[in-house]
């Protein structure tokens, strides 16, 4: 390990953030759950007992089996199987990988676009501001599903022979291009407030370049609300993905995400096959809740006024 890394780590563990983390049991619990979910999702091949994406291994005759502890359940499938004979436990693990991937990647992408445009609009002002904000208004006037559908449709028309990998990429772009507006507006608002504060003026007076002021001084002070927004958006991105999958432009049904699993299971709720939707639903709640709680804690920890 290099000395630089060691120093950074020491700085982190000595710093306020770690201190505040250690003092917040909620944050620690949320972090453990989130870490466990992410670990399972990342190493699905090692953790999951079956591979539900490998169609050749699915046994349709084993479909809709209840969890192992119920009569008719099979010890082969701990949490039961869905209507295609997929092991629910494995499907949930693999599905959360897809959902997390789509959710996190699209939030990161929209975060990058939204924050830069918001900073620019707020800090530069004038015509740039007007242009970016009108663009936001236009985007907001369409329902986000519609915009995502449009982008997805164009993507598919441009690449008619899309493989699954490309389908994912198009999906991520489609979701992130609908999500950036909220970040841009939030960041612009905070930037407008920060721009006229003394520390920014001081930085200007001593000749710090604009870009550097924006990045080093304004940005850290506007991240609070953005963090909260981002954590909420992870959950909503997962839901948009589920909707798009239902409309036939999302992930293929042969590699189901959590959203797809919940939707499929939802159809079977009335007939008493509750396990098909309950476990993916519980997983989604766990992911969304833990990420949200971490986001809350982060907002408090980063907010200088609450220290």
């Amino acid at each position: 390990m290099t000395a630089a890394l060691r120093r950074t780590l020491r700085q982190f563990f000595d710093g306020d953030l770690w201190y505040s983390f250690r003092r917040s049991p909620t944050a620690m619990a949320a972090a453990v759950v989130a870490f466990a979910c992410i670990f399972c999702a990342l190493f699905a091949e090692l953790v999951a007992p079956h591979n539900p994406m490998d169609l050749a291994t699915l046994e349709l005759a084993d479909s809709r089996l209840p969890p192992a502890w119920l009569p008719e359940g099979s010890s082969k499938y701990l949490l039961g199987t869905d209507d295609q004979g997929r092991d629910i436990l494995s499907a949930v693990i693999y599905g959360s990988r897809i959902s997390l991937l789509v959710g996190v990647a699209s939030v990161l992408a929209s975060l990058a676009v939204g924050v830069s445009l918001g900073l620019l609009a707020g800090f530069v002002g004038g015509k740039t501001d007007a242009f970016i904000m009108r663009l936001c208004d236009v985007m907001l006037s369409f329902p986000s599903i519609l915009v995502a559908l449009l982008i997805d449709g164009v993507g598919r028309a441009v690449f008619p022979n899309a493989h699954e990998g490309l389908a994912f990429a198009v999906l991520i772009v489609a979701i992130s291009l609908t999500g950036w507006v909220q970040y841009a507006r939030t960041v612009r608002g905070s930037t407008l407030v920060e721009r006229n504060k003394e520390y920014v003026q001081a930085a200007r007076v001593i000749g710090v370049p604009t870009l550097r002021i924006m990045r080093r001084h304004v940005l850290p002070n506007v991240t609070g609300p953005v963090m909260v927004l981002a954590t909420i958006q992870v959950a909503s991105a997962i839901l948009i993905e589920a909707t798009l999958s239902f409309l036939g432009v999302g992930v293929p049904p042969t590699s189901p995400s959590l959203g797809t699993l919940i939707r499929v299971g939802n159809d079977l709720l009335f007939s008493g096959e509750w396990w098909i939707t309950l476990y993916p639903g519980a997983m989604l709640v766990m992911i969304a809740l833990s990420v949200n709680l971490l986001g809350d804690w982060l907002r408090d920890a980063l907010n200088p006024k609450l220290r």
Partner: protein, 522 residues
Amino acid sequence: MMLKPTLLAAVLFLSCGMAGAVTLRVANQGDAQSMDPHSLNETLQLTFTGNVYEPLVGRDRKLGLAPILATEWKQTSPTVWRFELRKGVTFHDGTPFTADDVVFSLKRAAGEGSDMQSYTSPFKEVRKVGPLTIEIETLAPFPILPDVLTNVFMMSRKWCEENKAVIPVDRRKGIENTASFKANGTGPFRLKERQPSARTVLVRNGTYWGKIDGNVDEVIFTPIGSAPTRVAALLSGEVDVIEPVPLQDIERIKASPNLKVSQGPELRTIFLGMDQKRDELQFSSVKGKNPFKDKRVRQAFYQAIDIETIKNRVMRGASLPSALMVGPGIRGFTPEQNKRLPYDVDAAKKLLAEAGYPGGFEVGLNCPNDRYVNDADICQAVAANLARIGVKVNLQTETKNTYFPKILRRDTSFYLLGWTPSTYDAHNALTSLMATPTDKGQGQFNLGSYSNPKLDELTLKIQSETDQARRNAMIKEAFELHANDVGHIPLHQQALASAMKKNVDIVQLPDNFMPYKWVTVK
């Protein structure tokens, strides 16, 4: 809680105001795509617009022919049919119904943009003989012409001209016109309100020429795509009839004291089609050639599909596996022919290897997810089956509003479709699904362009053959050709199920038509 008494008062007031008016609230899985009766040859579309518009010859409750806008019909020569039209019929706007309207409507149905061309393709000429008499001359003798006309509805010439709706709404190209949203038919119901995909309201036609057996004054039709929501709407009493009932909920609805389920076999056959025309498949890993042109590949796909397990698990027993493109109840169906090739993974693998694809290949499968019973689940099961012979299926399932325009443009390599021969005759399946596509309307739904000249020849002969025994023998021969070629992969006939309140009596025909004029609410 302040709202409740007010709401109750409002409901009481309204129900007093409309004393005796019977409203039927129907929820279906999907919506009619347009109010234009010639725009889409699809069951829901036809059954819904069939309440507003009427054909010359219709069906009675036993699926026999019934006089509707024509009172009599006869063949005056082998190729000429004469129809005497009903007197005193008016359209909803008051215009009298005449022979001009029939000539116009049949021309409209045969023309550009119409989805009804497979019915009108044998026509040579439609002519007016008198104010209420018309003649249809066909290219060759056409004994089942009255059957064919049961789905071609009559429109008012004057109304279409005034509303610039002379050319049908073309669903393939997404073109709309007045006839998509307004309607002026002769039927027992008038269109009162049309909100696509949301709500369509029909009201009883007070000046209807005939007697309406049912007692429904108003029909509120709501598409509810989500199966559990649809069931919940029925359980909570928000709607009176739902169609279809998800297979998994039948038991639960039967157990409810106020509800009942009506189940029966449907004439529809679900099958898979393969693009056999293009020299290179649009959606496949195989470049430079089309694997589906090889019969061995098609047969390998067929034998790789485990239809019995699909029946038991996906369809919960409510299907009838089929080897033919038509099911029992269709004229020309022979039970002895209905024997599927065995499910045999090893044989399928061998066939695929012989055809030059020992490791399989990738192909895209298009599938609707809200049209047929458990359609997307069937496709997933098929994808899993094919994975066992090394074929990687890139499955795309989507809602029917985007699915149908796409596959009707033939933008597909491998697709799932269901077909009910609307004439209850095998000839309809032959000419629509199996004949080589022509610009005259043959093979209009042969979306993979399967082609066998001998079958085309037989289809033409069957059309004009009047001797029933000879006709059946030719149908049998044509089906045998198709089965030997594995032109399509037939899967099964699905079962029909609809559910309703106990006090509602509906008549649901095996072709999935449910005319509101026969609905009684007690």
